[in-house]
């Protein structure tokens, strides 16, 4: 008996977490998937009715806006954060004396809740009293910066706040990557008389491909899940102008009482996330197991 216990202790220790994950992740995904194929409204029904919820989703102009926004927001957020992050990392990699302090400054927004970020930027971009008013106060009477309240521009305001929050993190990733490049290769290039910018563009940056991938995955993941920032900054408005799939899902689940729509929109979100993350994780896990 003690022998048996001894041999199976590790499994028994892992079991509760495993069961929890099985139920609360995979079981719940299954539940949501199932419900997304029913006519559930205020209460879940379990009778399968085909793809009616997905058809409703596709027909909904609000969902249409949400997906468009996700595309605009995701693309801009990822591209700008990556470019800015890489640029900052390269600047910081030039033997700067104050590097530690600057790094701390660039990265601190990552420690904040997105609600805090949203609150701060909402105030800063507030047309009446924020940047617009300040610049006008300097004498530029025609200066306009009303993105937060302008339906055509509001999603870009979200991009600004999101980039402010996450680009420092990308900087940290890239800086670690730059420092991880084999010192000897760089010395060899210097001895060969290759100019610094060529060393970066031809040697260091190409060798950081895995870090670009990591940064991309994390940012894409953040973009798809981002919910708090929109809620705090624009509340999804004006109107539905800054709705994202995440806010759409939440609205359907908790204020509209439309469980079928909530479930099907969540499933679409998961589809998007997994289309990006699964190949990445798969290759990572495979590489590690060999």
């Amino acid at each position: 008996m003690t022998e048996w216990l001894e041999r199976h202790t590790p499994k028994m220790v892992l079991a509760p977490s495993f069961v929890a994950i099985l139920i609360f992740v995979y079981g719940f995904i299954f539940w949501t998937a199932w419900v997304s194929f029913t006519r559930s409204r205020l209460l879940p029904k379990y009778e399968l009715k085909g793809t009616v919820q997905y058809e409703r989703l596709m027909a909904s102009p609000r969902w249409d806006t949400a997906m468009d926004n996700l595309f605009i927001f995701g693309t801009l957020f990822i591209v700008i954060s990556m470019v800015l992050g890489l640029f900052l990392a390269i600047l910081l990699d030039q033997k700067i004396r104050a590097e530690g302090a600057l790094r701390t400054i660039y990265l601190y927004p990552m420690a904040l809740s997105m609600i805090v970020t949203g609150t701060a930027w909402k105030w800063i971009m507030n047309p009446g009293l924020g940047i617009e008013a300040t610049v006008r106060g300097w004498g530029f009477e025609n200066f306009a910066f009303d993105w937060v309240v302008n339906p055509d521009r509001a999603i870009y305001a979200v991009v600004i706040a999101a980039v402010w929050q996450a680009s420092g993190f990308v900087m940290a990733l890239f800086l670690a990557g730059l420092r991880g490049v084999d010192e000897e290769i760089i010395k060899a290039a210097q001895v060969d008389g290759i100019p610094t910018w060529r060393i970066y563009s031809a040697i260091i940056i190409p060798s950081m491909a895995p870090i670009f991938l990591s940064a991309f995955i994390v940012l894409a993941h953040l973009a798809i899940k981002s919910f708090d920032l929109v809620i705090a900054l624009t509340g999804g408005g004006p109107g539905y102008a800054t709705d994202l799939p995440a806010t759409y899902m939440y609205a359907m689940a908790f204020s509209r009482g439309d469980i079928g729509q909530a479930a099907s929109s969540a499933m679409v979100m998961m589809g998007v996330v997994f289309a990006i993350v699964v190949p990445y994780l798969y290759s990572e896990l495979r590489a590690k197991h060999d």
Binding site: P10, V25, T119, I124, G180
Partner: protein
């Protein structure tokens, strides 16, 4: 785990023999100017938040966004902490701040402990299927939580935990296990398997080996994990807003209610003070243990 080691040397100091290298000097100035401008960009919101929170409403309406307060007043802070209204109640952020504390502390401790044990098993006591279990846990880290929101709400109802802080603790622990397990697993995998073997030959069992050998080695990864969990759970909004009710909301939800409440006069100074209060614990952790915070971030993103 990533640390910032010494910078590369390609910047190259100007050689003394050539005298002053003007191009180099100009480039250095450009570099510092750029770095300084970016620092301003990142600091500006914090600066605006702090100065706004110290101004009176009158001064905010008449003055400039980026001006320092003419007269420093802590009224807004007092109101934010104990007087401002979130919906119908007007007790300030204080009760919600404590809600967050009593939600975050146990959730962090539980998730870290479970992660440590799981990581130890997966890294050092491999058995058939352990890798599959690890992969399943890892995929669990990446799901958009929207996909579990509806069934979780029902499950909490069934368990009698709907709208309660213990319910939120359960949620945070369950969806934190994946990451904490990943952290500890990646740390313990670097510890040679021979250590476990030696301890087995010495007669120690599963728990003894963990307690006497692995736990004393674990301080750095415990710090990283605790900071990661603390930041994530404290800053969470989605679970908080979905699974709480009046009275049990965490501070992020309360902050959002304050800021986006449409009744009464908009008190921007109170909003900013409240935002800073909500942000203080994680900012403090960041300032005190930034190194570990960064390690958690990079470890959480560079997988496997």
């Amino acid at each position: 785990m990533t640390d910032f080691t010494q910078p590369h040397t390609q910047a190259g100091a100007p050689s003394a023999a050539k005298g002053i290298n003007w191009t180099h000097l100009a480039l250095r100035w450009l570099l510092f100017t750029l770095l300084g401008l970016f620092a301003l960009f990142y600091l500006m919101p914090l600066f605006v938040m702090v100065t706004t929170s110290l101004k009176s409403l009158d001064e905010i309406r008449t003055g400039s966004l980026i001006a320092l307060p003419r007269e420093v007043t802590f009224d807004a802070w007092r109101t934010a902490w104990s007087g401002t209204c979130t919906g119908v109640q007007c007790e300030g952020l204080r009760p919600y701040f404590w809600n967050s504390v009593i939600m975050t502390v146990p959730a962090v401790i539980l998730a870290t402990m479970l992660g440590a044990m799981n990581g130890y098993v997966i890294a050092q006591w491999r058995f058939k299927g352990a890798n599959l279990i690890f992969s399943l846990m890892l995929f669990g880290c990446f799901i958009p939580f929207q996909v579990v929101l509806l069934p979780m709400a029902r499950m909490l109802g069934i368990m009698g935990l709907a709208g309660s802080i213990p319910g939120l603790i359960v949620v945070h622990v369950i969806y934190g296990i994946g990451f904490t397990t990943l952290f500890f697993r990646n740390y313990y995998v670097t510890i040679p398997a021979e250590l476990t073997k030696a301890a087995k030959v010495d007669g120690a069992g599963f728990f003894r080996i963990f307690w006497s050998i692995f736990l004393p080695l674990s301080l750095p990864i415990v710090v990283v994990t605790v900071i990661w969990q603390f930041t994530n759970i404290w800053n969470d909004f989605l679970f908080g807003v979905s699974f709480s009710q009046a009275g049990t909301q965490p501070v992020t939800v309360a902050l959002n209610n304050i800021v986006n409440s449409t009744t009464g006069v908009k008190e921007y100074n109170v909003d900013m003070a409240a935002a800073i209060i909500a942000a203080l614990p994680t900012l403090l952790v960041y300032v005190v243990a930034g190194k570990y915070f960064i390690r958690g971030l990079t470890a959480g993103s560079v997988k496997g």
